[in-house]
Each structure stands twice: as C-alpha cells, then as structure tokens.
C-alpha cells in the first residue's frame, strides 16, 4: 500500500533543494491577488512587540490547554538537522523547531492564510531591516525570545547560524552567492541583540531567504559543546536532537514508528494556536485520507488529486487548496536523437493532451502550465504569446517536416508518482496517434533519479517547485546551460543572457520583458512540454482552521487551530 512512500521522499528532497536555490526576489508581486491586513498582529509591523508583560510561561501558557493536533506527513523524518535533511517530513518538522528571522505577511483566502510577498520580522526578532541599497541588513533580536532550553536567542546565535550555512556542508552554501553572501566576514555581531549582514550585491531574494528555516537560529553554545574535530558544526548532534528556537520543542522522536511529538516552546514569543503537534508518518495517501475521514488524524498532506476530489465530498473533511507554481513537465533530452530535432520536440509538445491531464489526472487540482514560467507565476506570458495546445494534426505535420519518421522512444516515469504514470499513459496514447511509439518505463525512484541525473533518459518527468516564485531562478535551474538540474541538457546563449540579466533586475517592467522573451525562446525550442502547475492542497478535519501556505509551502504547525 505504501507504494508512494519512496517517491515522496525523493520529490521532497527536490523541493527542499529547489526552495533553497530558487528563492524569489523581494519586491515581486506575490502569488496572492488580494492585498489585505494580515490577521496575525505580529506580522503587520516590522517591529515585533514583546508579548505584553507575559512572564516565561512555565507550563506552556494558556495555549497548552489547547488541543493537540495530529498531522500526517507523507514521509518519515530522516534527520532533524536543519541544513542537511532530505525528506519532506524533516522539512516540516525543522520549520517548527527553527524559527527563521523573517516571515511573510499573510492574507486569508478561501480559508487559507496565504503568504504575501511582504516580508517582516518574525516573532524572535524585535526588528528586521534592509537598507535601501540592499547592502546591509540589520537584525535586532527579541529579548524575550528563548531557545527551549531556556537560553536567550542572541545575535551571536544567529551569526553562528549564518556562519554555519556559509562554512558548513549544508545545501544552502551553494545558494548563498545568489544573495551576495560569500564569507563569514560579511556577518557582524554588533552587540548581544544586534546583528548586521552585508551582502555583496543587492538581491531581490534576500528577504525571501530570510523566511527560510535554514536561517532559524541554532544554539551556539550547545552546538559548540557537541562539536568534534571531525564534525565542527555538530551535525551529528543535531541529527537526533534539537534545541528549538521555533514555536515547538521536541518531546519525542520515534523513528521506528515514524512519530514525532512536539509541544509549544515556552520560550517562543509568537503565538501558537494549538497545544502541540503529533507528526505521524503514514506513507500511503489512501490511508491518510481514510484516517482523516475517521477522525484519527487532523491534518493530511500529500494527497493525490483523486483522493482530494473524493474528500471534497466528505462533510467531515475540509480540503484547502491554493494555486501554486509547482510545475510538472515532460523533459526532452535535446542530446538524444531524435529529440535533438527541434521539430520533433515541437511535435511532441503539440501531441500532449493538456486538458485531459488537468481533468483526468489532476481532477482539476492544477492550473495550466503553458510555459516553464507557469500561469501561476509572475511574468507568465502565455496570455500574450501562443503556448502549446493539443493539436495532433499540427503535431503530425511537424513530425513529417522533421523527416524523422515514426520512431520508438523510452518514456520514463518514477514508480512513486501515480499522477505521472497516468499522465504518461495519456501522453503515450496521443503520441501513438502521431506515429511515435512511447515505451513507458516505470522505474524505481532511485533508478529514475540516477538515470535522469546522468542524462540517460530521453523523455522524462520532472516536478519542480521554487520556494520563491521567481521566474529567472526557475529558468536558471531548469534550462540554464550546464546547470546540474537541467536534465534536458538544453543550452541557449540568448536565454542564458536573459537569465543573467533578469536575476539582478528589480524593475518589474524590465523583468516582464525579459521573461516574455525567454518564454518565447523556450516555446520555440521546446526542451520541455509543460504539463500543469499543481495546486497546493491540505486536507483537514472539519474542526481545523488556520491552515497556512507560505513561500516554502511547508506545512506550518503553529497556526493550526482545533475546535472553535
């Protein structure tokens, strides 16, 4: 039954890495349409007021009386270390244990608190400010913010965390150059409460990066006490332990059963809307759905569209969805014949049954993708320029023009993704009609990734999500020449130039222009067929509210509320 287990692990790892890599520029338009007051007072101002006169809540404060909420994730938690974890489960849990310095402003939309592009100080900071030239960021700690072991969270801890991202072996090190950080010299502890970071260049992504949990403070004293010469950053210690700077403390981490118990961190100055969280790994989506229906769990994520459609009809369940930029595309390796022929790729792009995929595979829980910059992402140009639609006649014609004739080709699908398998079947049907015999090869995920990474797959699926919504980062990672995640091996100098220019442009008009041009190029060269942009979706019990979607799309625990 737990067939989906593995895959999920993998795709999540992808997400995490992507998120880190592809944070969006600060000033861009948010994904949300309405500009509204954030409901949580903490996010409305750049300055975080200390919770009024509350002493350290010994027993967890009044929230401790609130009910515990059971959340079911689709994977287990591999490790708790916030810089090297790989699974989605760990992704969600580390967010609850490491509070990043900044957070988004949220607006209510269809029952979901959706993050806007406005970024403010998080509860553990008193203030967060970036200079107008973008070359100096000042972090002032909230004097009431404490780790769950009682230590105050100081500027030193935050600085230590920055240094750890820069010098340690975590993923984030690779991405720091995009926000202009190269060395620890750029981090300066002014005093116990104040930290200044000086990026080399102004980056529109800086704000967004600061909302990522990788910058959530790690307790320096504890880390150093547990460091060894082999492991100066105490990765090993944090693999199984956490000193939380976030809304929750770790009570229990049972790898065997895949269960984690979190209780509110008494030292966390922000609001926690529930009495604690139990995180359960239930690998099967169907089981998660069923347990949700039976009230045994409160929140389930990672449900397949078919299940979401079923759950929507269940009066005991709420299905929260929001458009997302998580795109799924069919990659075509431009170095493998006959896909090296542009016309063949175009023919394939015309042959894809886009509407059928949205209806029959995604059950409507997706938006059309259109281009690499999906319709849900800023600078999408599909309304202005022609994107591919299903046109078998055209496809046949193109194939004929290409002179390639009928051929047979491997279409690889990862075993864990039912949706992609179904999509493959539908695509195969249409390709057959234009004379292409696609051999579906369902591969175990490890194999699939291995072969994809080695550029051995001619036709493959790729699911990609950028934590930010930045189109140029999307392009950078998916189509930039030589990029390690560019599995289509596509290379176009003009596109590379546009990417280079667009990444450091803050002018929205200019960005739109560059992006539109890029989309034209991509549509012409057709290195991918862009299938859909999947909705973000969470299903909960009827009595659960406070579901939050932020830049990272990580399940946020502290806003979940059970009952009235």
């Amino acid at each position: 039954m737990g067939r989906s287990k593995i895959i999920r692990v993998r795709s999540f790892a992808v997400l995490v890495a992507l998120g880190l890599v592809a944070a969006a520029c600060g000033g861009g338009a948010g994904t949300t349409t309405t500009e509204a007051q954030g409901e949580a007072p903490a996010t409305t101002s750049a300055t975080q007021p200390a919770p009024g006169g509350e002493e350290q809540p010994e027993t967890g404060g009044p929230e401790a009386e609130a009910p515990v909420i059971v959340v079911s994730l689709s994977t287990d938690v591999d490790i708790l270390e916030p810089h090297t974890f790989r699974t989605t489960g760990a992704y969600a849990v580390t967010r609850a244990l490491y509070q990043p310095p900044a957070d988004q402003v949220f607006v209510e939309e269809g029952g979901v608190r959706v993050g806007t592009s406005e970024v403010v100080a998080s509860p553990i900071l008193e203030s967060y400010r970036v200079s107008d030239d973008g070359l100096e960021a000042t972090f002032v700690m909230n004097p009431d913010a404490r780790f769950d072991n009682g230590d105050p969270i100081t500027a030193g801890d935050l600085a230590y965390t920055f240094r750890r991202t820069i010098e340690g072996p975590g993923y984030i090190g690779l991405l720091l150059p995009f926000i202009g950080i190269e060395s620890s010299d750029q981090i300066e502890v002014v005093d116990d409460r104040t930290l200044v970071v000086r990026p080399k260049v102004a980056s529109s992504l800086f704000d967004r990066f600061m909302t990522f949990q990788v910058f959530g403070p790690i307790n320096q004293a504890v880390a150093e006490a547990n460091a060894t010469p082999d492991d100066p950053w105490a990765f090993e210690y944090f693999t199984n332990n956490a000193v939380s700077s976030g809304p929750y403390s770790l009570v229990e981490f049972d790898r065997d059963r895949g269960q984690i118990v979190l209780e509110p961190n008494p030292g966390y100055p922000g609001e926690v809307a529930n009495g604690g969280i139990i995180v359960r790994n239930i690998p099967d989506a169907e089981q998660r759905a069923l347990l949700l229906q039976r009230g045994e769990i409160d929140v389930a994520v990672g449900l397949a569209p078919r299940l979401l459609a079923q759950l929507q009809d269940d009066p005991n369940v709420n299905v929260y969805t929001a458009p997302s930029t998580r795109s799924v595309f069919l990659g075509m390796n431009v170095d493998i014949a006959p896909l090296d022929n542009k016309l063949v790729r175009q023919a394939i792009s015309y042959a894809v049954p886009y509407d059928a995929l949205l209806d029959q595979v995604m059950f409507g829980f997706a938006s059309p993708a259109g281009t690499l910059i999906p319709s849900t992402m800023e600078t999408y140009a599909g309304d202005a320029i022609d994107v591919y639609t299903t046109d078998l006649e055209r496809a046949r014609q193109l194939l004929e023009e290409s002179g390639v004739g009928e051929f047979s080709i491997e279409l690889a699908v990862p075993q864990s993704s039912k949706e992609q398998q179904q999509a493959a079947v539908l695509i195969q049907d249409n390709l057959r009609q234009i004379g292409i015999d696609a051999q579906i090869n369902v591969l175990p995920d490890a194999d699939y990734q291995g072969r994809r990474n080695n550029r051995e797959l001619p036709l493959f699926f790729h699911e990609w999500y950028s934590w930010g919504d930045d189109p140029f980062y999307q392009m950078t990672f998916l189509l930039k020449c030589g990029q390690f995640t560019n599995f289509a091996n596509y290379c176009n100098e003009e596109l590379d130039q546009i990417i280079a220019e667009g990444t450091f442009t803050t002018d929205p008009v200019k960005r739109q222009e560059l992006s539109t041009r890029a989309q034209q190029i991509m549509l012409e060269d057709a290195p991918h067929a862009w299938l859909w942009a999947a909705d973000w979706a969470v299903a909960t019990g009827k009595d659960i509210s406070g579901v939050t979607k932020d830049f990272t799309e990580v399940p946020r625990f502290e806003t979940l509320r059970k009952g009235g």
């Binding site: 593995i6 118990v261 194999d447 291995g450």
Partner: protein
C-alpha cells in the same frame, strides 16, 4: 556430544562468515552510488567525491570488505545512508516490533497447526484429514500480501473490527515504558491495560495473516510425522503389548513426532526473525522488515546489508539452538552408540 557441539559451532561460524561475504559482495553489485544517495539528489560532483572519500567508498573493494568485516565483528554494521544512524542501532530498536509480531504469529500458527495436524493424522483419510490438507495447501499457496489485503478490506474497511494498518498503537498513544519492547508485555508490566488491549488490537490482523500462512507447514509436519510415527514398528509393538490407541497417539505418536515438529516451528520462527517484509510493509509495522523495504527503495546499501546480515546471523544462531535442543531431546544424538550388555 562435545565433538558434536564443537563441530556445530565451527560450521555456524563459517556460515556466518559466508553470509557476510555473500551479502557484502551482492550488495556492492547493486546499481546506484552510495555516495550519490548520501549526497542527495541534487548534489554536485565534488560533493559526491567528498562523501565518497569520507566514507572510504573510493578505496579498493577488498579493503572496504576487510573494514566492514572488522566492523561487523565489533558490532558495527555501518551507518545508514538515509538517516545517518548506526545501522545496528536502528535494526535493534526495530527488532522488538518484529519479534512481537513473530512470536504471536508463530504462537497462533502452532495453536492452529498442532492440534489440527494431530487430528488429521489420527483420522487419516477421513474428511477431517481432507479439510486439514486443503487448509495446509491453501496456507502454503497463500499470497501474504493478498491475504493481508483481504483482512484489511473485511476486518478494517468493511467491518471496522480492527484498526487500520498503520502502526503498533493508535496515533498519539505513547508506547509503554520499554522493558522487553513488546508492547503487550511492557503494557502489562506497567499496568497500562488499555495500551495492552490496543496493542493486541493492532497486532490482530497482521498476526492472523501470518498465523494462517505459517500454520500450514506446521500442520503438514505434525500430520506427516504423527502418521509416520503411528505407522512405525514401535507403535505397532506398543499396540500389540496392549497400550491403548489414545496413549499410543499421544505418548508414542505425538511425543516422537514432536521432534520434527519442534524443528519446523523453530524454522518458521527463524523465518519470521527477519521480519516479514511484505506483512510489515502492508501493515506499516515498524519492524526490521519495513526498514529493509525502505532501505531497498532508497538505495540505502548499508542498511540493507546490515539487515540481511542480521537476519542471516540470527537465523544461524537460532538453528544452533534448535539443533542443540534437538540433540538434548533425542537420545540417539545425545548419547553414544552402544551399551554392551
């Protein structure tokens, strides 16, 4: 007896060594790069090289093997690629779950198999016997995963008698304080009777699934060895000497049949020691079997290797125990050949 012991021990050690060798080299042939897995899916080449160097994966296979062997001898089975935890520790912490499942399953299988087998043997050729044989064939033909699904479908989905295939306890129920690792026992020790009851409810479906399947070999063995014993010359003698059929069945028949039966139960249990991958996977049972499944799916070579070696070694060790038990019970092995009158 002493010679026998020494020989047995020697063979066992050789077998264990063989297990380590075989597994190590089979697993090394596995496609996929341990370092790449450890580095994560989007790692750069340098990063992979770094990891390869760190874990010694760039050294000659032979050296790696010697290291691994030395490690195993010390109880170090390497570190899981996926969780960065020592494999042995992870296996040991999951072993009680598998063992609890195994013990109850074998218990159920024995409770079904032994009496049914005796009755079938005593009434050889009658309809009872035919039913028993069909039952045994059904059991040994059963696809575990299918039976498990049937159980889930009927007893969980349709009837709702038992909890879903999720775990050993309901979500959010803390396990009882660990003494044996068996929730049913630990719960009782701690006086948490609700936990005990819940643990049994969660055990029910996987145990019934396995119990049914494992009953088959036990039933067959009981039946055929009781039949064999009953047909033996010494049972005929006992009957000729006026011993009643009932006594013959239970004292001579079953007692002597007990030896092979004990061995069968031992083997069945040994088979279960490795945790049943299919059932643990199907019921999300947090034991070593599911661990192995996850290891395979994620190319976690160290974990897989550790699992298989542990299973092999436990099995060999169990067999030594069974053989010794057998030798103790059976005077033909325990005692020397002749008493000259």
């Amino acid at each position: 007896m002493r010679r026998y012991l020494i020989k047995r021990a020697g063979i066992s050690v050789m077998t264990m060594l063989g297990i380590v060798i075989v597994v190590f080299f089979i697993v090394r042939v596995l496609p996929g790069d341990a370092a790449a897995v450890r580095a994560g899916p989007y790692a750069t080449a340098e990063k992979i090289a770094q990891i390869r160097a760190k874990y010694g994966l760039d050294r000659p296979l032979w050296e790696q093997f010697v290291d691994y062997l030395a490690g195993v001898a010390r109880g170090d089975f390497g570190v899981s690629v996926r969780t960065d935890q020592p494999v042995l520790g992870e296996l040991l912490s999951r072993l009680p779950a598998s063992l609890e499942l195994a013990v109850y399953s074998v218990l159920v299988a024995t409770v079904i198999g032994v009496p049914f087998g005796i009755v079938a043997a005593a009434r050889q050729g009658t309809w009872v016997d035919v039913v028993a044989r069909v039952f045994a064939i059904l059991g040994s033909s059963m696809a575990l995963f299918w039976l498990g699904l049937l159980m889930i479908y009927f007893f969980f989905f349709r009837l709702g008698w038992f909890p879903g295939p999720v775990d050993r306890l309901a979500v959010g129920t803390p396990p009882p304080p660990t003494v044996t690792g068996f929730y049913t026992i630990d719960g009782a020790l701690a006086g948490q009777w609700e936990v005990v009851a819940m643990a049994f409810r969660f055990l029910a479906l996987p145990v019934l699934t396995l119990g049914f399947v494992l009953a088959a070999p036990i039933l067959k063995m009981v039946r055929s060895s009781v039949i064999e014993t009953l047909a033996s010359d010494y049972v005929r003698t006992a009957r000729a000497m006026g011993v009643s059929p009932r006594t013959v069945l239970f004292v001579d028949g079953f007692r002597n049949a007990l030896l092979p039966v004990t061995t069968t139960i031992g083997i069945v249990f040994g088979y279960m020691l490795g945790g049943n991958i299919i059932v643990e996977y199907l019921f999300s049972w947090p034991g070593v079997g599911r661990y192995a499944y996850e290891a395979i799916q994620t190319n976690d070579l160290e974990a897989l290797q550790g699992f298989v070696i542990m299973v092999g070694i436990l099995y060999v060790a169990l067999n030594v125990v069974i053989d010794l038990g057998y030798a103790l019970i059976d005077p033909r092995i325990r005692l020397g050949r002749k008493v000259t009158a």
